[in-house]
């Protein structure tokens, strides 16, 4: 792969750290959920980390990112503060969305991270519209929109892709095909199971990539982002991946076999990437050791921050329904 | 057994206050008997019974104000059954009472239980007074007892206006205090007035109550507002040469004793009654559509000295001759001034006449008295230059106006009526 050669030790270390942070952060979240620190829905990304990491590393800070309700990892990849995300999941006002959104609605405007959307497919036209704005305002930023293969069955997916292609706007649609829309397998949802073909139907350049391999995702994403930025036209990147954990915390996983999960776990992108780095001498055992400690510290810090966070006063309940400074 | 209900004496009557019972329990009643005197917005009205029977018991007391339709007394019917057929009214009175009530089913058969149930009802009513929130809060602030009020709002709910009216009434209740207002003074004097006509030289009528005049004023206001609100008026005017009529009247009166003399108003009334023949649509009421009336009952506006109007009817004016009409006026006007009119006299009119007399304005544009559909206005007779037989001459001229309800008739009808009226007044001897 052409990107292999370009991967610097520094970037390699950062990417691995990011992957591990995502994994450990979510494992901690699951634990905190069972302790009732986190409530509501909690959708974990564990197993799919290579996708968010691989795509977002290709972006510039001014690019827009929109995610789904399974977006903790994307926020972390976008450098949203882990403590702010954890506090958000706690519902504390120190959270990145002041605790108003919770796990499914992580927003950070400064990082151009636009959520956190929990209606399947609902954010796709927003991405098209944001890209339209970039075009009209003659900005060179692009918009990246993550969604699952379940969203591709929604009418709005088709509208958003058609409009993006029709208008020729710089948006990268990233389909995280984890094979299950909640519990309904791809084959029970789609007559044509190659999601990339749906993009092609709208005249959008569409590629599929192994979403369990960070290097492959990076390579595909770099190419896609470059193309979107250069052409100003949309692109559909389908990342075939798998979530190791249940859809959300309250899921008996009746729809798939344990053996299937185990099989996919053997393709876990994190050990794979670590192995690759060690093999290529892009990272040392000592560094890995030290990384583990840093991760522990960062996650503990995030939890402490969330724990120390405060509850928004009830009197403020009705804030943020309308803008408080209408002059904005 | 039937109940005698507070009668509705006009579309705008909502309630009445029983001032005096004129019959006692046990009294035999025949149609036309005055059973009670009731004070209304329009003044004290004697109310009649329309069926024969025996007054069994009072259901309300003197001083009670009850809405139209509320039971006032229990009657034992005789002969024709009342409006609401009752089992026992078909058989025979008094002795069969127990039997009759038994047959009514689960209700215990004695009169005590009836009383109890009616008491329960009234106490329940007290707890369930319908009043608007605003009326309640005003009543509370001003210590007005809502149970004593009759509502004029939706479903008989007491409104702000009802409470305020009660408060205004209450202010006047202190009897004969020296500070009483001039208006009230006038009213009371008026009430005690002896009318000058022969047969009515009676002791002062005790009937009139303070506030009565005001309620007449209020009734006029209500009727006129309603008219203005609901009736699309059209107006027509005609000048009538009165030389012939006035000459005839002069000749006639010259031959008569003073007590038999006629007023011009008699000619007006008679002429209107005859003119209606050709335009029956003006002798009608509007109640979800035009309803022609067979009788010609001409309402004659009588203004009261202290303000306000009463409009008693001269019944079947078309069949009365001028002397009979004068007799009717002689009877009615003094009673009107004494506020002693009968209920039916106030509610029977089918068309109204207003005449300002010889010193009034030259023209009067009337406001139709709902539900009637026309009012004829007679100005004062004045000498005016008038073309007569191609010559300009000064002649006595009467300006007659017709206000018609445009829903009922149009200008053509009104025009025809005024023309007919003119013709009749040109031939006074035939009236």
């Amino acid at each position: 792969m052409e990107t292999k050669d370009k991967l610097s030790a520094e970037k390699a270390e950062k990417l691995l750290y990011q992957l591990l942070l995502m994994r450990k952060f979510e494992e901690k979240s699951a634990e905190l959920y069972t302790k009732e620190k986190i409530r509501g829905f909690l959708h974990l990304y564990i197993g799919e980390e290579a996708v968010a990491t691989g795509v977002i590393q290709a972006l510039k800070p001014e690019d827009n990112v929109l995610g789904t309700y399974r977006e903790h990892a994307h926020a972390l990849a976008r450098d949203v503060d882990a403590g702010a995300i954890m506090a958000e999941m706690y519902g504390k006002q120190e959270g990145c969305s002041r605790g108003r959104g919770g796990s499914m609605h992580i927003f950070d405007k400064e990082k151009n991270f636009f959520g956190g959307s929990a209606i399947v497919g609902g954010h796709l036209p927003l991405a098209t519209g944001m890209a339209l704005a970039s075009k009209k305002l003659k900005k060179d930023n692009i918009t990246v929109c993550f969604f699952g293969e379940g969203a591709a069955a929604e009418g709005i997916f088709h509208e958003a892709l058609n409009l993006a292609s029709l208008w020729k706007v710089p948006v990268l649609f990233v389909c995280e095909n984890n094979l299950y829309a909640m519990g309904t397998a791809l084959r029970f949802s789609h007559a044509v199971q190659e999601i990339e073909k749906k993009g092609q139907a709208y005249g959008i350049e569409s590629k599929a990539v192994d979403g369990m391999d960070l290097l492959k995702v990076m390579a595909a994403a770099n190419k896609a982002v470059e193309q979107v930025r250069n052409s100003g036209e949309p692109y559909l990147l389908v990342c075939n991946t798998y979530r190791f954990r249940a859809h959300s915390m309250f899921d008996a996983e009746l729809y798939r076999k344990k053996s299937e999960v185990e099989k996919w776990k053997k393709r876990d992108p994190i050990p794979k990437f670590r192995k690759y780095l060690l093999k290529e001498n892009l990272i040392s055992e000592t560094q890995l050791q030290e990384m583990e400690e840093r991760l522990e510290t960062e996650i503990q810090k995030a939890v402490d921050f969330a724990e120390a966070g405060t509850w928004e006063a009830k009197e403020e309940l009705t804030r943020f329904v309308y803008s408080e400074n209408p002059e904005s | 057994m039937t109940e005698f209900l507070m009668p509705s004496l006009g579309a705008d009557m909502e309630a009445g206050t029983l001032v005096e019972w004129k019959k006692k329990p046990g009294d035999q009643l025949k149609p036309g008997d005055i059973i009670a005197e009731v004070e209304t917005q329009k003044g004290l009205i004697e109310i009649e019974v329309f069926e024969a029977g025996i007054l069994e018991d009072y259901l309300i007391e003197e001083g009670d104000k009850v809405p139209v339709g509320a039971p006032m007394a229990k009657l034992k019917s005789e002969g024709t059954p009342g409006k609401i057929p009752e089992k026992d009214s078909e058989t025979h009175p008094i002795q069969e009472k127990e039997q009759a009530t038994e047959s009514e089913g689960p209700v215990p058969s004695d009169s005590i239980s009836e009383e109890t149930s009616s008491k329960e009802k009234s106490s329940e009513e007290k707890h369930r007074i319908k009043a608007s929130p605003l009326a309640r809060s005003i009543a509370e602030k001003n210590n007005v007892d809502l149970t004593s009020l009759t509502g004029t709002g939706e479903g008989g709910a007491i409104t702000k206006a009802d409470v305020e009216q009660a408060m205004a009434g209450e202010k006047e209740t202190p009897k004969q205090s020296p500070e009483t207002t001039a208006v009230k003074d006038t009213v009371e004097k008026k009430a005690e007035q002896e009318t000058p006509s022969k047969q009515v030289m009676e002791p002062p009528a005790p009937s009139s109550k303070p506030g009565q005049q005001e309620s007449i004023r209020a009734a006029v206001a209500a009727a006129m507002s309603r008219s203005n609100r609901e009736i699309p008026h059209y107006y027509l005017e005609k000048k009538i040469d009165m030389l012939a009529a006035m000459s005839w009247l002069k000749d006639t009166n010259r031959q008569r004793e003073i007590s038999g003399r006629l007023l011009p108003a008699v000619l007006f009334i008679k002429a209107v009654a005859k003119a209606i023949d050709s335009t029956p649509a003006l002798n009608a009421v509007w109640d979800n559509g035009l309803q022609l009336k067979n009788e010609v009952n001409i309402g004659f506006v009588i203004s009261l000295r202290a303000g306000g109007l009463l409009v008693p009817a001269i019944r079947n004016a078309d069949t009365k001759n001028v002397d009979e009409i004068m007799t009717a006026l002689n009877d009615m006007i003094p009673r009107a001034r004494a506020l002693k009119l009968r209920s039916s006299e106030l509610s029977d009119s089918t068309i109204t006449i207003t005449s300002l007399g010889e010193n009034g304005a030259e023209k009067v544009f009337g406001v139709i008295y709902p539900p009637q559909v026309a009012i004829v206005g007679f100005g004062s007779i004045v000498n005016e230059p008038l073309v007569h037989d191609g010559m300009l001459a000064v002649r006595p001229v009467l300006h007659v106006t017709l206000a018609g309800d445009h829903r009922a008739t149009d200008g053509l009808t009104g025009s025809r009526f005024l023309e007919a009226l003119n013709n009749h007044l040109q031939n006074p001897e035939k009236l």
């Binding site: - | 000058p196 004793e257 007023l263 000295r305 006026l329």
Partner: protein, 81 residues
């Protein structure tokens, strides 16, 4: 009948006709009907009552002579002779 008797009869009957007024305050040359606000019907009734009380008939053509307290008194006084 003295002039005083006639006047007191006039006052009595006027008071009955217009009880809210004080006829005794009428000036001799004041128009009675205007001052006391008496309409044509009451005016006729007043004359009827005068006729009954005093036994004096007033023909219609003489109505004009009865307009003021002074002229009415004069007229009645003359007729009663």
């Amino acid at each position: 009948m003295t002039r005083e008797e006639i006047q007191s009869a006039i006052f009595e009957l006027l008071k009955k006709t217009a009880p809210d007024t004080d006829p005794t305050s009428l000036k001799p040359d004041e128009n009675i009907r205007e001052a006391l606000n008496i309409d044509s019907f009451d005016a006729l009734q007043f004359l009827v009552a005068l006729n009954e009380k005093l036994g004096i008939d007033i023909p219609e053509e003489d109505y004009g002579k009865t307009a003021t307290l002074g002229s009415l008194t004069d007229y009645l006084e003359e007729k009663s002779q």
